[in-house]
């Protein structure tokens, strides 16, 4: 039986060389963002009337929020299935989710052409088109960003309540902490409901593109496939984050805990594959996978990653070692990411004469958004109690 330690701030210097490099990347990215708002999307992206959506939607938003499903996946395990021993993984998972979703929201603001009008979405319910799946996604994501920070807020309140913190923050924590504590059950319940809704909807968005989406991806099961795969990705990200934090910050390992959890994403991938392949076969579309084109190739890339990832997660050789866990989780996370990028970009064919490849500023802005996310992660885990983990001897395989 492992003993949990209370989450603690890591402390240590913030402005490490790595942090400075990240800051420089963010700096360049911010300049490019300013240019994007002055010069417009045409000058700064590879987008066109044929490909109105590019990596800012396919990667930053659609894949980014799926990568931010760690909090959602862990909430299922800890709060719904009552597996309290996974609690040490909860706060870091919620932090990565909060950051992932916040960055997705930032990306939407950069991607949308008439950004100042975004405020109208929550403000003018009379205008809502309730048939619009994108509206559902927009409202859900806005609400979920707030919910995630609320779920995480006790980590900030606990710090601000301590002696020596700024009086204003102390007062704020004194007022808000009890309220958040009281409301935590509905907050957590909404926190499980909202991703169920919008991750499904992210799968439903491209249904409207009809024939423009390749037959290996266009299916009424897409919403369900997106939901299942985002949960699997969530567990994968939590495992990756945990093993990374362990080795980077030299913290006690959570290998044993992660090994037990590994079967959950593994089985989710199995269910995903049965649905995905069953649907393709029953619809008589399997032949599309054997054409000599980029779509068929990417389909097999997905399959190798999904099947390989699940096999690794089931295999004691991988799941019982920190390195193996990282590799197996990475395969599943990559699989889900490629599935999303494919659905939105590779499988999307607006007709002849159109092509899309992200422009350099477009790519650099995405890199900058990710860099900003990592900076925020580093700052928060060093200053606030996020990482807890399992004390006692390292639980690596062979030490038991």
């Amino acid at each position: 039986m492992s003993t949990h330690t209370k989450p603690q701030p890591l402390g240590g210097p913030l402005w490490t060389p790595a942090f400075k490099v990240l800051a420089a990347i963010v700096g360049v990215s911010v300049l490019l963002m300013i240019w994007r708002f002055i010069a417009g999307l045409g000058a700064t992206t590879g987008l066109s009337d044929g490909y109105p959506w590019g990596i800012w939607i396919a990667f930053d938003v659609v894949t980014g929020t799926a990568l931010g499903c760690g909090g959602y996946a862990m909430a299922f395990l800890v709060y719904i299935f009552n597996k309290g021993d996974y609690h040490p993984l909860m706060r870091p998972a919620v932090l990565t989710s909060a950051l992932g979703y916040t960055m997705a929201a930032l990306a939407i603001n950069i991607d949308v052409g008439r950004t100042p009008y975004i405020y109208k979405i929550p403000v003018f319910p009379a205008w809502w088109n309730l048939n619009s799946v994108l509206l559902e996604v927009a409202l859900c994501v806005m609400a979920y960003v707030a919910i995630l920070w609320l779920e995480l807020s006790p980590a900030f309140f606990e710090t601000w309540e301590q002696a020596g913190s700024h009086p204003a923050l102390k007062k704020l924590a004194g007022v808000l902490h009890p309220i958040v504590k009281k409301l935590m059950i509905p907050i957590l319940a909404v926190g499980v409901l909202l991703p169920t809704m919008h991750q499904t909807s992210l799968g439903a968005l491209m249904l409207l593109a009809g024939q423009k989406v390749h037959g290996l991806w266009q299916t009424p099961f897409a919403p369900l496939l997106f939901l299942i795969s985002c949960v699997a990705m969530g567990y994968g990200v939590v495992a990756m984050e945990s093993t990374l934090a362990t080795s980077v910050f030299k913290r006690p390992r959570e290998t044993r805990l992660l090994a037990r959890m590994a079967v959950v994403p593994a089985w989710l991938v199995v269910v995903y594959l049965i649905l995905r392949l069953g649907d393709i076969v029953l619809r008589g579309r399997m032949g599309l996978a054997f054409h000599a084109n980029i779509q068929a190739f990417m389909f097999w890339v997905e399959m190798v990653l999904f099947i390989g990832g699940a096999a690794m997660l089931f295999s004691p050789k991988f799941k019982d070692t920190a390195k193996g866990q990282f590799q197996a989780s990475m395969a599943v996370v990559l699989a889900g990411a490629v599935y999303r990028m494919d659905t939105y970009l590779v499988a999307y064919n607006p007709g002849k004469n159109w092509a899309y490849f992200p422009a350099v500023p477009e790519l650099l802005i995405t890199v900058g958004v990710v860099a900003l996310e990592i900076m925020a992660y580093l700052y928060i885990v060093k200053r606030y109690p996020i990482l807890g983990g399992v004390a006692a001897a390292p639980n690596v395989r062979g030490a038991e």
Partner: protein
């Protein structure tokens, strides 16, 4: 930690709810209600056998809509758009395959059940008077989901502008309001494109087919395609509508698959509320069952 039966049951209840949600994903057998054109629907009929490719309609369209000339591919010399774009709401194209040739006019189809208006978050794109699909700037965030959705590739975007608009044919709705015709129909010297009541145009198209069956492809494109369009097409015999660049959509409206799934999931918003109640109850019971200090630690 031991999992007692009650905890397990609660977990299963949640899983059951999730499964119920999943089963609802299957497209409901009950199809979504089929839309019909509004009673005041107006439309256009383009007859490819009459068009001589003079492009008078393109000039008239630009003048009526205050559009700049698209001179990018002609060294600034004359208007030469290569497709519909933010400077061109209406274009005449040529299909050529050996000696099979035909002109083709492309513009918004003003679908009976448009994918773009299902996409649009705040109703910027809507079927407004006469069933004409128009764009309202005040409601548009510039998300471009309309462009993803449209099977005809119609909504275009002002990519070069910092405050871009969506540009598409609005059937000269402002001219119609003044009792005029759409500019393209008014100027066409061959009456290859004509404007009128949707029902009259459909009857006219079917009449032309019946009167000269050998002259035309035996079909009015838009009568049922993708749920129907208010702009109708006739093509020369031997030249399919796909040759002309129109997609083969079948009769099912494009939004059907998505809307059927989404509406069965969100019918009356029951499923989300039920799911919230189940999640809330399970979390609350788990907390009590664990006999803890009554605090849920996030």
């Amino acid at each position: 930690m031991t999992v007692d039966r009650r905890t397990l049951l609660k977990g299963m209840a949640a899983a059951g709810a999730a499964a119920a949600l999943g089963s609802a994903m299957e497209p409901a057998t009950e199809a979504r209600e089929r839309r019909v054109p509004p009673p005041d629907a107006m439309g256009m009929l383009y007859d490819a056998t009459l068009c001589i490719g003079c492009k008078t309609c393109m000039v008239a369209c630009q003048d009526a809509n205050g559009l700049p000339r698209d001179t990018r591919s002609s060294d600034g010399l004359y208007d030469a758009p290569d497709d519909l774009n933010a400077k061109c709401k209406n274009i005449i194209k040529l299909f050529k395959d050996g000696d099979r040739t035909s002109f083709m006019k492309a513009q918004c189809m003003h679908c009976v059940d448009p994918a773009c208006i299902n996409a649009c978050m705040m109703g910027s794109l809507k079927k407004r008077e006469h069933g004409i699909v128009t764009w309202e700037g005040e409601r548009c965030t510039g998300c471009r989901y309309c462009g993803i959705a449209c099977p005809y590739g119609v909504p275009k975007y002002e990519w070069e502008k910092a405050w871009p608009r969506v540009i598409k044919c609005e059937m000269c709705s402002d001219r119609i309001a003044k009792g005029q015709q759409p500019a393209c129909c008014e100027v066409c010297p061959r009456k290859a494109v004509i404007y009128g009541k949707y029902t009259d145009l459909l009857a006219e198209a079917q009449g032309r087919l019946a009167a000269a069956p050998g002259k035309y492809e035996p079909k009015v494109f838009g009568a049922t395609d993708g749920g129907g369009t208010q702009v109708l097409y006739l093509s020369k015999a031997g030249i399919s509508f796909q040759d002309l660049g129109l997609p083969d959509l079948g009769e099912t409206p494009v939004p059907d698959m998505q809307q059927t799934i989404q509406h069965s999931l969100y019918q009356g918003f029951v499923a989300p509320v039920a799911l919230f109640a189940v999640f809330g109850a399970v979390i609350w019971r788990n907390r009590k069952a664990s006999g803890g200090d009554g605090e849920v630690k996030p």
